[in-house]
């Protein structure tokens, strides 16, 4: 089982979290170079370091997690604020 030190929660098993997808920003102008379809669906799913939103359902806290999708190493987790 894989554990990580989360702020507020302490050491938790990562299986306790519901991972959402990459934190992709809203595009400023869809008309410019990409279509809405491209923005919704295009992914760059190669091994890389990425930032994701993870939800911890028992505490109802969202986290922003930096993780390597090639090695599954987690570098950082911070509480997601508006």
């Amino acid at each position: 089982m894989k554990f990580f030190q989360f702020p507020l929660l302490g050491t938790r098993a990562i299986s306790e979290f519901v991972p959402a997808h990459d934190a992709i920003l809203e595009p400023i102008d869809l008309e410019d170079n990409i279509s809405a379809g491209d923005w919704v669906y295009e992914r760059d799913s190669v091994p890389k370091i990425t930032t994701e939103f993870w939800y911890h359902s028992t505490s109802q806290i969202w986290f922003k997690v930096e993780r390597n999708t090639g090695t599954n190493q987690i570098y950082r987790a911070e509480v997601l604020r508006e």
Binding site: M1, S15, V18, P19, H21, S35, A36, G37, D38, V40, Y41, E42, R43, D44, S45, V46, P47, T50, E52, R67, T69, G70, T71, N72
Partner: protein, 413 residues
């Protein structure tokens, strides 16, 4: 005992011919370069040679034949999909599978077992009815059956499922089958190789060059190859290959795990799938129970399997089959599934001239091996998308024209 076996035992220099050629060096040019010696790449090579006479073909693999998802899958073959496009496509695949042992002169152990998708609540029962109606309309044998009929086919099943999620019915699909995955890859490799196709194992593609006319070169550590046609059939590594040519796709990679038990006496003559319990199982010809679950929850480019997977899966399997509690797990493994948003493949031509894609096979691509090979070979030979794969083209995402097969996925994702 067959004479052939006796010859192996008693005559020292009696040996069967090699199944595949082992070419030394890469040639400078090929008409077609296929990246990936999994079932799909090798099937395409076979049909290019057999149906279209195109044999100046190299199949390159960074690892060994069938070492990707082909050799890691749980080999369930079925055509009870939800969309007419999906149903027609997979039905053609089953038809090819049925004659494949003869066509390839290799026993692929194709075994029709029937396939039960259990429904534990009203909403899954509703999807089962929907699938059954679409299937029947297209001439595919599927029907919704009662819990009693499930019990008749599999008397060992505990229909009350430990008391919490009783089985309320099932979608029964008579053509559901299993086959030996390695044999499918080896059979296609043998046939393609016998027709002059070169299979270069341990030859990773590290770059693809283009010029004003489209694809121009494929780069490998063993040398640079000139070609105008490349097929990417690399499943879990698709995003790395498409990146080389600047083609963007919605594919995301998630690990998918499976395991087998120790061999036990034959008792399970059908295939049992439960989406609600996130599990499925069948019994192999060796007696092992072949079992799988849902995808791992996070994008990950790794084939490490986990302890949580086995414990979680066994927990669910024991709800349906408590008598298996003393049976041991023998092996477990993982593959990398190339998932698409609509659970349908991405096949055919791409915006880059000469670059063809056979991808997006996720958790469901083994059953498509023959038909994807055949339709991709036809697409490459004619430079036109085969009619059977038209709706699986990459441009459907740009146009919001998705196929919608998620409801027919074997297990909840």
């Amino acid at each position: 005992m067959s004479m052939r076996l006796l010859k192996y035992a008693f005559i020292e220099d009696y040996a069967e011919d090699n199944w595949f050629n082992t070419p030394c060096d890469l040639k400078a040019t090929y008409d077609v370069v296929i990246i990936g010696a999994g079932g799909h790449g090798l099937a395409c090579a076979h049909y290019l040679a057999q149906d279209h006479g195109i044999t100046n073909v190299a199949v390159l693999d960074s690892s060994y034949i069938g070492g990707g998802n082909t050799g890691r899958n749980t080999t369930i073959i079925r055509s009870n999909y939800l969309t007419p496009d999906g149903v027609k496509f997979y039905d053609q695949s089953i038809k090819l599978f049925k004659d494949l042992s003869c066509e390839l002169d290799t026993n692929i152990f194709f075994s029709e077992r029937g396939h039960y998708t259990l429904a534990h609540n009203t909403s899954t029962l509703r999807t089962a009815r929907w699938r059954a109606e679409v299937n029947k309309h297209l001439g595919i044998k599927s029907e919704v059956v009662s819990p009693d009929e499930v019990l008749r086919a599999c008397p060992e099943i505990q229909l009350d499922c430990g008391g919490s999620q009783a089985v309320e019915g099932a979608l029964y699909h008579e053509p559901g089958a299993v086959a030996r995955h390695d044999a499918v890859a080896w059979g296609y490799a043998k046939s393609a190789s016998g027709r002059g196709v070169e299979i270069h194992q341990h030859t990773p593609v590290t770059g693809i060059n283009t010029d004003s006319q489209g694809i121009s070169e494929v780069v490998t550590p063993k040398g640079v190859i000139k070609t105008r046609t490349v097929l990417s059939a690399v499943a879990g590594q698709t995003p790395s290959i498409t990146k080389m040519v600047g083609v963007k796709t919605p594919i995301e990679i998630f690990p998918l795990q499976a395991c087998v038990t120790e061999p036990i006496k034959p008792w399970l003559n059908t295939i049992i799938v439960s989406g609600s319990l996130h599990m499925y199982l069948s019994q192999s010809s060796r007696g092992e129970l072949v079992m799988g679950a849902a995808l791992d929850p996070m994008e990950l480019h790794s084939r490490r399997s986990t302890f949580e997977f086995v414990t979680g899966l066994c927990d669910q399997v024991l709800d349906l089959f408590p008598f298996l509690s003393g049976v041991k797990i023998n092996r477990q493994w993982a593959g990398m599934a190339d998932m698409t948003p609509d659970f349908a493949p991405i096949m055919g031509m791409t915006p880059v001239k000469g670059f063809f894609l056979d991808s997006g096979w996720g958790t469901w691509g083994f059953k498509a091996t023959p038909i994807s090979g055949k339709t991709m070979a036809n697409t490459i030979a004619t430079n036109l998308n085969d009619p059977l794969i038209q709706s699986f083209n990459l441009d459907r995402f740009k146009n919001f024209n998705l196929v919608g097969e998620k409801g027919a996925a074997a297990i909840g994702h």
